[in-house]
Symmetry: C2
Subunit: 133 residues, 2 copies
DNA sequence: ATGCACCCCGTACCATACTACGGTGTCAAG
DNA sequence: CTTGACACCGTAGTATGGTACGGGGTGCAT
């Protein structure tokens, strides 16, 4: 039933060091430690790590994930708090997308201005980047 | 005519340390150094820094900017090489946008499932993040 | 000539999320 | 009982793009 750190790591597709890192960072509870000193994880530990992995995939930083996890164990906290974090993250992502779109627009504008073949000393892209303000 | 590092920094809105950092990283040429040891920049130096700033704003990393700069001084290089970097960066940005959109979709799906008010122990968002695979 | 702003250098530090290393101890199979 | 795989710990290194610090030297104005 009880798992070693190595088994948890393999089940989650991460390295042992990553689990220890999450523990140090307060993302994973300290597991039982028999006299040997070896960590003994309950099967649930795999889900703790998966929670972190899924949250990361949604764009949450480890700091934010730690906050989500503390909301989970805070009996006074409600769903709204969690929802709020998710909505804030959505807003965050939208801002990033907007920013990336602007970058892309600017790059497209530069690339269409460049017809190639000329030496780089006459490149309209480099000129646009280097021109005085 | 010649500028101190501090003047260049102010003109570009960056710190003196940033200019020295760019120099160390090979993004800015070593300027003249009279006996005092103080860097003496030509007025053009401001444009070197602006080139870096604009390239950064388009999403290029310092490593990529270094490459753009070496294309600029490579008389054998042509515009196409520069255009290629710009197009690669556009593709890069599109990939990032796609990734962010997927995150957003997933988050939206979770938030609409959450109606708030309940304790976090029954939060559908947290449940989705923590459920076994 | 004296003060103060500015410059020099090397090094260390910030956040992020790990990853690697070295030296040692433990468990389980043969 | 030995051997090999696995675990322990603390520290340091990776990439990115700077920022800060400490101890010193310089240049200009008053």
């Amino acid at each position: 039933m009880a798992l070693t750190i190595g088994r948890v790591a393999v089940q989650c597709g991460v390295g042992v060091e990553t689990i220890r890192f999450y523990e140090r960072e307060g993302l994973i509870a300290q597991p039982a430690r028999p006299e040997s000193g070896f960590r003994k994880y309950p099967p649930d530990a795999v889900r703790w790590v998966r929670f972190i992995q899924r949250s990361k995939a949604l764009g949450f930083s480890l700091r934010e994930i730690r906050e989500l996890l503390s909301l989970r164990v805070d009996s006074a906290a409600t769903c709204d708090a969690v929802k709020g974090r998710a909505e804030a993250k959505i807003a965050d992502i939208e801002k990033k997308i907007g920013h990336l779109r602007e970058m892309k627009q600017a790059l497209v504008k530069l690339t269409v201005a460049c017809r190639g073949k000329r030496p780089t000393s006459e490149c309209p892209i480099l000129e646009a980047l280097g021109d005085g303000d």
